[in-house]
Symmetry: C2
Subunit: 267 residues, 2 copies
């Protein structure tokens, strides 16, 4: 299949590329997380090049990023004749699978119940800090954490209680959904709205490029705010509209077959 | 009736008098609060003298205290021939009636439900400070208040929530029931345990002296910690035992008839 110039594809890639957040190693993780997260999945060096270079990233930058990812234990590489293949390490798969449910959730999680942990300036601070390192905890202020589900039993040094019937002040909503993330999200939504539904003429590498860019941009929005019910949103939070648009586009860009992608020879 | 020397009475008064907390104006308030809190109640100067001087307080100190209480708007005095009479002002009655339910509660109040108000260092602090001035609110730390009952509707600037299923750390219990108050309470309990049940030989003024001292000592314990269910007590909190003993003694010292007390002429 020839990699022909496709103005629609070029335009979409240009819109989705975010020059300020174009960290190549991070884009490669988005790609592996989206398409090669299972233990036996692998992506050939040539496929990687065909997926990533259309984003305006040079092959040399891909090599540097792969080197860093190998050094940090995310990725391993192997040679098969003249071809190279790359795959996630167990560590890399664990990192990806820890966030995959949140990135790909079509409905934001609605936690069943909440609890609150309270310390003082002098008591319980280390217990609170430990709790805040766990998933499902949100810092309210220096001495208070909001946690998903009923309170755990092992909170000896903290005032712990189950919480219901919230009244949420605007400062807390703004703290959960900072203006900066709201702007990133609105910018992504704006970009996504300008991309018409993809047609059938896209090849596998092009689909992979677009999926990678969409997931990459969305990942950087969705993982930077906690999963909370709509009652926690500040006014005009664009997250739900953005999420809807992300999955509407991804549904039109079904994951390409990796084997097919690896075998396709560049013209 | 002659004011005879009664070793049992003298011993009880000595035990109950607390030289460190013997503020005369405060003892007078305890007396009025216990025996003359209704609009038409009054206590004659001579009755006041006969009730208070056995505590080792000089008539001159009583005059000084009454002067201060008049100046502060708690008490008014009038003359009737050579006799003086004293009574609480409306302000004084309001101050007394605000705390009477807590002082005379035979069972500590068990609030039905709780809510929590949370500020940050920069937001909601003035709303929190206002809440903490209301009855039924307890400070947890600089940014958190625990309130009785369900959360109010007007908490715009605070994170507010209904709270159940508490786990209470020892620092919070110690904060609610400080060691100093625990010691005062244990000391009072110790004193009360050393007083045998009063006999029928006490005259009205003696009963009034003992009631005043018991109520005064108890008031200074019970009003210095919040009314909370037993689950909030620190280990070995002597409050319930002390409360039980206070009311057991007061039941043996029924309130004297004020008219009778006023007419009794000192020998």
């Amino acid at each position: 299949m020839e990699h022909s110039y496709d103005p629609w594809f070029e335009t979409s890639v240009d819109l989705l590329s975010d020059p300020q957040n174009q960290r190549v190693w991070s884009i490669i993780i988005s790609l592996f997380g989206d398409m090669a997260q299972q233990p036996n999945d692998q992506i050939s060096g040539s496929a990687l090049t065909r997926i990533i270079t259309p984003m305006g990233i040079k092959p040399e930058a891909i090599r540097v990023a792969l080197h860093r990812l190998r050094k940090d234990g995310w990725i391993e590489s192997a040679r098969s004749g003249r071809a190279s293949i790359h795959y996630l390490t167990q560590y890399g798969r664990d990192q990806c699978s820890a966030v995959t449910p949140r990135i790909y959730a079509r409905e934001p999680a609605a936690p069943q119940g909440w609890h609150v942990l309270i310390a003082t300036d002098t008591c319980g601070q280390s217990a609170l800090d430990q709790a805040l390192m766990l998933p499902g905890y949100i810092a309210v202020n220096r001495t208070t954490a909001l946690g998903c589900g009923p309170r755990p039993g092992n909170t000896d040094d903290l005032l712990a209680l189950d919480a219901t019937n919230f009244s949420l002040p605007s400062w807390f909503k703004a703290q959960l959904f900072p203006t900066e993330i709201s702007k990133s999200c609105a910018a992504l939504l704006n970009v996504l709205n300008r991309i018409p539904p993809p047609g059938p003429e896209l090849n596998s590498a092009q689909i992979a490029s677009l999926r990678t860019l969409i997931v990459h941009r969305w990942r950087r929005v969705v993982l930077r705010h906690p999963d909370l019910p709509a009652s926690f949103y500040p006014a005009a939070w664009p997250g739900d509209a953005c999420r809807h648009k992300v999955f509407s586009l991804l549904d039109h860009l079904p994951r390409p077959n990796l084997a097919e992608l690896g075998e396709t020879v560049e013209a």
